[in-house]
Amino acid sequence: MASQWGVVEPFPIYLVKSRYFLYDANVVSHVRASHRMCGCLTGTLPQIPQQNVFLGLPLELMTEEAALLVEKGAGYIVNDIQAHSQGLKSMLEADKAAYLEAREAESIREMQALQKAAEERRKAFRTPKPASLKDNDGEEEETGEEGKIRDGEEDKVGATVFETDTAKTKLSNAVDPAPPSTLRYYPVPATSEALYHALPTSPGLLEARVLEPAPSETSYPLYKHLHEHNYFLSPGLRFGCQFMAYPGDPLRFHSHFVVTGLGWDEEIEMRDVVGGGRLGTGVKKAWMVGGENKDKPGEVRTFCVEWGGF
C-alpha cells in the first residue's frame, strides 16, 4: 500500500558505517506520521546552511527505530556502500549517456521556468506567502539565492552564524535578480538513482538477517514498550539520559520523560536516582527508568521519578 506520501512498504533503510539513514523526504514524513518515529535530521539544510537549529537530510535513525521498522516489516536494511558500487559497476554506457542527456535537458527546462516565474513576479504585486513552502520553484529559488548571499557575507565579515540586518538588506536585492540567460542549474538530488544504485531485488531475504548493529538489550524492550504506548522517542544523551519521550510529535509537544534503560539486575546508585529526579523536575519532566523483566520475558517495568516537592 502507498501512504499519503506515496511511500510503499517495505522501504529501504540505508546502512553506512554502522548507521541507519533515510534520504527520501517522503519516507521521512511517512515514518513520522505512520510510525511515530522522528530519527534525527543530521544534514545541512541547503536553504540556510549557516546554522544548526534547522537541519536537513539525511535523517539518521536510531538503532532502535531501524530495528523496530524491520521487525514490523515496514523497512529493510540495505548496505548502501555495496548498493552503490554494484550499481556503478553494472551501469551501461548507453544508460549513462541517456541519464546525462536528460539531466542537461532538465536543467535547461528548469532555467526557462525560472525566468518565466521571475518575469511574472515582477509584473504582479506579490502578497506575502504563507509559512509553508507549498509553492513552485520560484519560491525555492529565492530561498536558495538568499543562502548564497549569506555565503558571500561569510567571506566578507568572517563567517557569522546568523546574519540579521545584512541578510535583510541583501534580501531585497535577491527578490529581483533578473537572471542572465546563460545561468543554468544543476540540482544534486538527495537520493540515488536506480541507474547507479542497485537495490536488492528481494527485500524479504534481507529482513531475515540479524540486524547489525543491533540495538542494546537494555534499551530496546523499553523503547518498544514506550513506542507502543504512543510515545515518540528521541536520543537523550545531551539531556543526560538515553531517550526523551514525547506524548506526541516533538514538533508540537514538550517531552514528558527523560528515560534511562537498565538491565533487570543492573545496580543504580541512590545518588543517581536523586540526580535523575532532579534533572527532570528542573524542566517539568519526570525521570523514568525501566527495562525488561528477566523472569517474565516480554514484560517491561517502568518507574517514574519526580521531586517530592519538599
Binding site: C40, N52, F239
Partner: protein
C-alpha cells in the same frame, strides 16, 4: 539530539581558592527579599574555623576585628588556639554520625566554618524557633528561619500556578466547544460531584483502610502562650566533618553514645571507615577505597585550601564548595568524587577497573545538567587510590597514610558554539 551538538568543556583545575581569612572589605551580601532583618553575617561568621588566631600586628584601629577579639578573648579565656574544654560530640550508630547538643559547641561549629547541619532543619539548627512560632510562643515575623522564608515563597507561588492551570483548561475547553466536540453548560459542576461520590463509593468498598484523616493544625493563635518547647534537634556532623574537627583541627572529642566514654583518637579512622558502608562493615573488610577514605581525602583537601565544604546530595553530587559560607553566596562549585585506579596494582581488578571507573556519558551529562540548572560549575575530583598497605600497622600514621592519596580536579562546563565563537 539532532547531531553533534552538545559539548562540554573539561578543564583540569587548580583548586587553590581565595582564602576566606577575615577581611572586612567585602561587599555586603545582596539585599534580602524577605521582610526580616538579617543578622550581620560578616560579624557572626568572622572566623573561618572554630580556632582562635592571634595576629601579630593589630590591624586598622577602627576595624571591628579588634572588638571581636575582645569578645572572643572573653568567651575563650587565654590566648590558646583551642577551646577549653574541647567540644564534645556523641557518635550514634543509628545515624552513623556525630551528634552535638551543647549549644556553645553548636554555635562554635556552625558560626565558625559552617560545620554540621541541624538534624531537623535545612542547614542551621532552627527547629525550636519554628516550633515556638507554630505554638504561638513567638511572633509571626520574629527571627524568620530560612525554612520559613522558603515556605512563604512557595505559598505565594501556588496560587499563581493554579491560576495558570485554570486558564490553560479554560482555553482548551473553549476550543473544544468551538469545534463542537464538547457541550459546556451549568452541569459541569454536577458531573464533578457525581465523580466525587463515585470515588467515595469505590473508596469505601475496596480501599486500603487508614486512620481517619487528620490534617495538621495550622495554628495562628493571637495570644502568646508560655510553653516550654523541648529542643529535639541536634547538630549533626558527618563522619568526614567530625574527623576533620578531631584529627585535623583537634577541637572535637568524640564519645560513644552507648557507653558515654570518649573514643580514643587512634580508633576513629578504622571505625569511621567501617561505618561508611551501608550496612556497616567489620574492620577486616576495609579497603583502600572505602567511601570514608575517598570522601575524606577530598573533604580535607578542600578544607585545607580554605573552602567551606558541605554535602551535595540535593544536587546529586558529593560536595558543594562555598567561598565563605552558605549565608553569603550560593555554592559556586559542585564536587563529584571519582576513584581512579591508575596504580598498576589495580590493573587486574575487573570490578574496580570496569565498574567503578567506567561511567556512561549520559550519566555525566545528567549530573552536569543538574549542576548547570542551579548555576554551579561541576568539578570532577579524581582520587588516585593507592594499593593496600602491605604490613598491618602502617596505617597507624594517619597523615602519612592520607598523603598516599592524590587528587586531581577537572572542571566541566557546557560549551555552546554560539558563545565561544566571538
Amino acid at each position: 539530539m539532532t547531531s553533534s551538538a552538545p559539548s562540554i568543556t573539561i578543564t583540569p583545575a587548580d583548586s587553590t581558592p581565595t582564602h576566606p581569612a577575615p577581611t572586612f572589605t567585602l561587599p555586603t551580601p545582596p539585599a534580602a527579599p524577605a521582610r526580616y532583618k538579617k543578622p550581620n553575617y560578616n560579624v557572626v561568621h568572622a572566623l573561618p574555623l572554630p580556632l582562635t588566631t592571634v595576629p601579630l600586628p593589630p590591624l586598622i584601629p577602627h576595624n571591628p576585628l579588634s572588638l571581636l577579639h575582645i569578645i572572643i578573648a572573653y568567651l575563650f579565656p587565654g590566648t590558646t588556639s583551642h577551646p577549653s574544654p574541647l567540644h564534645v560530640g556523641a557518635f550514634h550508630a543509628s545515624t552513623r554520625a556525630i551528634h552535638v547538643t551543647d549549644p556553645q559547641s553548636i554555635k562554635a561549629f556552625w558560626e565558625h566554618g559552617f560545620f554540621g547541619k541541624g538534624s531537623l532543619s535545612r542547614s542551621e539548627p532552627t527547629w525550636v524557633i519554628r516550633k515556638r512560632r507554630a505554638l504561638g510562643v513567638i511572633g509571626q515575623n520574629e527571627a524568620l528561619t530560612s525554612e520559613e522564608v522558603t515556605m512563604r515563597r512557595r505559598e505565594e507561588r501556588k496560587e499563581f500556578k493554579r491560576e495558570r492551570a485554570r486558564a490553560e483548561k479554560e482555553r482548551r475547553e473553549k476550543q473544544l466547544a468551538e469545534e463542537g466536540k464538547i457541550v459546556r453548560g451549568p452541569d459541569d459542576d454536577q458531573e464533578k460531584e457525581q465523580r466525587d461520590s463515585a470515588a467515595a463509593a469505590s473508596s469505601s468498598s475496596k480501599s486500603i483502610t487508614f486512620a481517619t484523616v487528620e490534617l495538621p493544625p495550622r495554628r495562628r493563635s493571637p495570644e502568646r502562650p508560655v510553653v516550654e518547647v523541648e529542643d529535639l534537634e541536634h547538630l549533626q556532623l558527618t563522619l568526614e566533618e567530625s574527623f576533620f574537627l578531631s584529627f585535623g583541627l583537634g577541637v572535637l572529642q568524640i564519645k560513644d553514645s552507648k557507653t558515654d566514654e570518649i573514643i580514643p583518637q587512634k580508633d576513629l579512622l578504622s571505625m569511621f571507615r567501617c561505618q561508611s558502608y551501608f550496612p556497616p562493615r567489620t574492620p577486616d573488610m576495609l579497603q583502600p577505597d572505602d567511601p570514608f577514605l575517598l570522601n575524606y581525602v577530598v573533604y580535607h583537601h578542600f578544607r585545607s585550601l580554605g573552602w567551606v565544604v558541605k554535602s551535595g546530595i540535593k544536587f546529586a553530587v558529593d560536595y558543594l564548595l562555598y567561598n565563605r559560607g552558605p549565608v553569603f553566596t550560593h555554592a559556586e562549585f559542585a564536587i563529584l568524587v571519582l576513584p581512579a585506579y591508575s596504580h598498576p596494582y589495580w590493573d587486574h581488578d575487573r570490578v574496580r577497573k570496569e565498574e567503578r571507573e567506567k561511567k556512561p556519558w549520559h550519566w555525566l551529562h545528567c549530573i552536569n545538567r543538574v549542576s548547570s540548572q542551579v548555576k554551579k560549575t561541576l568539578i570532577l575530583v579524581y582520587v588516585e587510590v593507592p594499593p593496600p598497605l602491605e604490613k598491618t600497622g602502617a596505617e597507624d600514621n594517619v597523615p602519612k597514610m592520607l598523603a598516599r592519596y592524590k587528587v586531581r580536579e577537572v572542571a566541566l562546563r557546557r560549551w555552546l558554539v554560539s558563545r565561544n565563537r566571538d
